[in-house]
Symmetry: C2
Subunit: 243 residues, 2 copies
């Protein structure tokens, strides 16, 4: 697929590993590749498929959380909104990601689709019950939650202490890392989210995001392409996102 034909709301494809298990037998598109096969087999019978179109919402903040989700294809934005309309996008969910893993009574964020999305839905109480019977699985999911918490702390550092340039560079490098893991191109990054979503994620305005990307482009760090961004000067980006 040429970079010039990326759709505007790009479709995050289903990585091939999700479509077949070890012996090449097709299986229902379903659970995270991050999970060992045995655990997938434990969880899968409990799941139901969900599909969303662009802009449809999966759930809203503070709604009773009767489900847990695992994204199979597409991408979602997760966010909170203040009474006066200010929004913070706390993150984006990609194939393989769980949503609602902390199993609280209510959802901590709202979630809606950036494009067509499919996911596995689990009934929360059944999910919980299953975990209680499989301490190993619960421990694994607890670990995944711990990693999310660690990333949340990265995010605090990003929001509290970094400049606009660093924020944007860090965002791009973070996306690259995630794309590597789910089998998407880490060179030409699809950006299924709009500039406003990025801005609300990084604690900036849409204008600042746009200007910063333009400058990175002019400086030869990146190349802005329809529907995404091509990473050019990897080193410079790495230095900007200075860990």
């Amino acid at each position: 697929m040429s970079i010039h034909s990326l759709p505007v709301g790009p479709r995050i494809p289903i990585p091939p590993s999700f479509l077949f298990d070890g012996i090449g037998k097709p299986r229902l598109v379903s659970l995270s590749a991050a999970l060992p096969l045995a655990e997938r087999d434990t969880l899968e019978p409990l799941s139901r498929r969900v599909s969303l179109d662009q802009k449809e919402t999966l759930f809203g903040q503070d709604e009773p959380a009767c489900s847990v989700f695992n994204v199979t294809s597409g991408a979602l934005r997760l966010y909170r909104i203040l009474p006066d309309g200010r929004r913070q996008v706390t993150g984006f969910a990609f194939p393989g990601d769980f949503i609602g893993l902390s199993l609280l009574d209510r959802f901590a964020v709202s979630a809606d689709a950036l494009g067509p999305v499919t996911a596995c839905r689990f009934e929360r109480l059944a999910f919980r019950r299953l975990l209680c019977e499989n301490p190993g699985l619960m421990m694994h999911l607890h670990e995944i939650t711990g990693q999310e918490l660690s990333r949340a702390k990265d995010m605090m550092m990003l929001l509290g202490r970094r400049t606009a340039d660093e924020k944007v560079a860090t965002f791009l490098m973070g996306l690259r890392d995630r794309y590597v893991r789910i089998g998407l191109s880490p060179i030409t990054l699809e950006l299924p989210m709009g500039r406003l979503d990025i801005a609300d994620h990084l604690g900036l305005t849409i204008e600042t995001v746009s200007r910063t990307l333009s400058r990175l482009d002019k400086d030869g760090c990146i190349l802005i392409v329809p529907g995404g961004v091509r990473l050019v000067d990897h080193n410079r980006l790495d230095r900007m996102s200075a860990h």
Copy 2:
């Protein structure tokens, strides 16, 4: 204790409920009141006491995490530092709080004492093993982690989308809520952390924090007292922290 005699590095007292169990028998100061007695009794045998003096560090970011902690008295700051010295204080730990609950291989933050601190230390692998044998307990601790994650998202909203005034007001109201739960005065808040810690927590500079507190004082919202702050105009503070 008069508000004018608050020590500069105030001692966060041990809530009485930690000192005695149901039948009035004294017990070793130890575990969180947030935990049911049965769970406390399960965990306690595994624990070792730790004491820290002011400014001593409990552990550093990225160190191998061989322990899990539960604070019994005092307060700690949890933070990350960038190579160039910029710091983000991700939170503060008070009596009852667990640290390192996500059980990852390495600590996600550094932790050091704001004043004299005591805590329970658990050997991580033993702790982990115990949890695998007590799914109910594991589920409970998972839930606590989920709440921490939810607060991390509040923090993202705070850092990304709120003004300096709102940040400071929200910080104070948040402290009030926590102090209520651990039995400290929610009217005259002790501030065991310095202005710089608050600044690095809220993504501001020390000058902005100082100015903002001064203005809140002048406006009659709060009263700055040695070692802390007295909340005066509760309503106005609530409106400023506008949830």
